[in-house]
């Protein structure tokens, strides 16, 4: 399917484990967007507004996560969420 303006995707290599504190920040950031966002890791996906689901992905430092969004602000959402994931420590 060709990409369109209502969906966006990016991959991020995590600089640190996706542990509780960054997962909390992620949930708060994701809630600001109206697009449907998902975080995929190792064949599993989670809604980033759910801190427990995100922690349950077990995404560790050095692994890749994919951020996808569908909706009016998809591009902006993927940019912001990717930036956040790329800067966790």
């Amino acid at each position: 399917m060709p990409p369109n303006s209502d969906s966006a995707e990016a991959t991020v290599v995590l600089p640190a484990h996706l542990h509780a504190r960054p997962a909390g920040t992620l949930a708060k950031t994701a809630a600001r967007f109206e697009s449907r966002i998902e975080i995929a890791h190792n064949g599993r996906t989670a809604n980033p507004t759910g801190i427990l689901a995100v922690m349950g992905l077990g995404a560790t430092a050095g692994t890749t996560v994919t951020v996808r969004a569908h909706g009016a602000d998809a591009e902006h959402a993927v940019t912001e969420i990717s930036r956040l994931l790329a800067s966790i420590d």
């Binding site: 509780a20 504190r21 909390g24 920040t25 949930a27 708060k28 809630a31 600001r32 507004t49 759910g50 801190i51 427990l52 689901a53 922690m55 349950g56 077990g58």
Partner: protein, 130 residues
């Protein structure tokens, strides 16, 4: 800034509840939105009816509050308090104590309404860790 939905942690143990409060604070819970009602009036393991009444008063800042009991008499005492002092925006929620509080506190900081916060706490039961 508008207030967020409050969370009352009802526990047998003051240390357990205060430790969870610190964790929720680290995760960015809104200041003053999480209130512990834990231990007996003289600081022993147990629950206090009066402490729960006071905690609910503090936690409900106009957006409502959820009451999360750990187990046993925390549930029974919290239920009695809410039966005696029903408040439309305050609900006793059946959820895992730690995970439910974490999920609820994080979603509450986004300005979510009471039903959304309740759902987040309840869904914590189904979140897998591994």
């Amino acid at each position: 800034m508008p207030s967020s939905v409050g969370i009352v942690l009802v526990s047998h143990s003051p240390e357990l509840a205060s430790g969870l409060c610190v964790l929720l604070d680290q995760l960015g819970a809104a200041p003053g939105s999480v209130i512990a009602a834990a231990g007996t009036a003289d600081g022993r393991i147990g629950t206090s009816y009066d402490a729960i009444v006071v905690a609910i008063e503090k936690a409900d800042q106009g957006r409502g509050a959820i009451v999360l009991p750990d187990l046993g008499s925390s549930v029974l005492t919290a239920r009695t308090v809410l039966d005696d002092h029903p408040r439309p925006g305050v609900r006793l929620v059946d959820a895992p104590f730690v995970e439910g509080a974490v999920a609820a506190a994080v979603i509450a900081t986004t300005g979510a309404d009471l039903d959304t916060v309740i759902a987040a706490a309840q869904e914590a039961r189904h979140a897998t860790k591994l």
